[in-house]
């Protein structure tokens, strides 16, 4: 009887500790999430409608003073929300706003051209895998890219939490297939994979990484949703593995914070 009593009291104590642990765990994750990026939201603060594009141009922002020419890990500035749209010369634009973590300029031959009355960045991939990322780093992040990949054969990815080509999170699209996962030390882990339907030329590919929750959207429709450990802050950008042309109208980045 005495043993049973002590078992019961232990069980009650355990439940109490479970409750307290859950409470403190939740608090800790909230603190972690809110503490990742203290930068002020700028252009994207009220940019909840990700289908629209702003005309703001902020090329080269926060890129001075760093050597982003190599494929190694570059130093990281904390990024803020913005909507990037192309203008000017393609190569200069890529050089000022991005750095490569795989491949090089000649693998994408960037050009700024006009389509559907907007400037677009035309990339012509030659089959060599290439990845270019903004100079700023982000933790919890939402990314929305307006693009047209009708003339591209292969896989294009939105990457985030990227340290280098072998360590990043991704949402990869190949035809009508979307895959969500991460690459750690070169090994791929897939969290979710699904088919989607879209008969539009231009799609709005959206990605969100909030805590341990990762999602890939086409427009406002969730296509993939997976979970994984939280990764260290990293760069945000685009990776291409294929041939043909891809047109990019805008890239919106929104640091996600608890409000």
């Amino acid at each position: 009887m005495k043993e049973l009593k002590s078992t019961i009291y232990s069980a009650i104590l355990f439940m109490l500790m479970l409750g307290v642990a859950a409470c403190s765990g939740g608090k800790k994750s909230e603190e972690e999430e809110s503490g990742h990026d203290h930068s002020e939201m700028t252009e994207s603060e009220d940019g909840h409608d990700h289908g629209e594009e702003s005309s703001d141009h902020d090329h080269g922002e926060a890129s001075g003073g760093h050597d982003h020419g190599s494929h190694g890990e570059a130093s990281m500035d904390e990024g803020e929300g913005k909507t990037w749209t192309p203008s000017g010369n393609g190569e200069e634009l890529i050089r000022s706003d991005f750095h490569f973590i795989a491949g090089a300029m000649e693998n994408i031959a960037p050009e700024v051209t006009e389509a559907v009355s907007d400037n677009v960045l035309k990339l012509t991939a030659n089959g060599t895998p290439v990845a270019f990322v903004f100079h700023q780093s982000y933790g919890n992040i939402g990314i929305a890219v307006s693009l047209n990949a009708n003339s591209f054969q292969g896989t294009y990815k939105l990457i985030h939490h990227a340290r280098n080509a072998d360590n990043h999170e991704f949402v990869a699209v190949n035809g009508n297939n979307m895959k969500l996962g991460r690459i750690v030390q070169g090994d791929e882990m897939v969290f979710d994979e699904s088919e989607f339907e879209s008969d539009e030329d231009w799609i709005n590919l959206r990605v969100s990484a909030a805590g341990t929750h990762y999602k890939g959207y086409i427009g406002n429709k969730t296509v993939t949703h997976g979970h994984g450990d939280k990764m260290e802050n990293g760069f945000v950008g685009i990776m291409l593995d294929g041939t043909g042309e891809i047109l990019i109208k805008s890239i919106e980045t929104v640091p996600l914070e608890d409000e």
Binding site: G19, V20, G26, G211, H225, E257, E259
Partner: protein
Amino acid sequence: MEALLPEWMPNIHPLIIHFPIALWAVAFLFDVVFVIKKSTWTRNGAMSLYALAAVSAFAAYLSGDQAIDMVSVPFQGEVTASQHSDWGHYTLYFFAGYAVLRGFLYWKSLDSKKLVAIGLLILGLVGMGMVAKAADLGGKLVYKYGVGTKK
């Protein structure tokens, strides 16, 4: 099940989530009464209500898991959605664990002992706090970010 919903309602989650909240809260009240003045009907009532709360928490978890991929979450609401989901999980595990513990004590007729009853009451309060936190985040998703307000 979806066919039974009104055409303006995006999913069944909003209908189900009130059950674990209300059932747990009423079960807790039964427990308070039981600690003050022991009676068979408050003991039986609390046990039944906690068990039903755990079952309905499981239904809320399943419907929430389905709902999150059916609604559009604006970027600024993603962290809240993530926390709501996490707290939903914590609450489910706690409710299930508590219901099992409570069932065992009930079966062994040990839940009437003063110290055990007080311990269970404190745990019930912790459960209230957890479901309140999950509900608060769910409310924020709807009323601050407008998630699930349009089909």
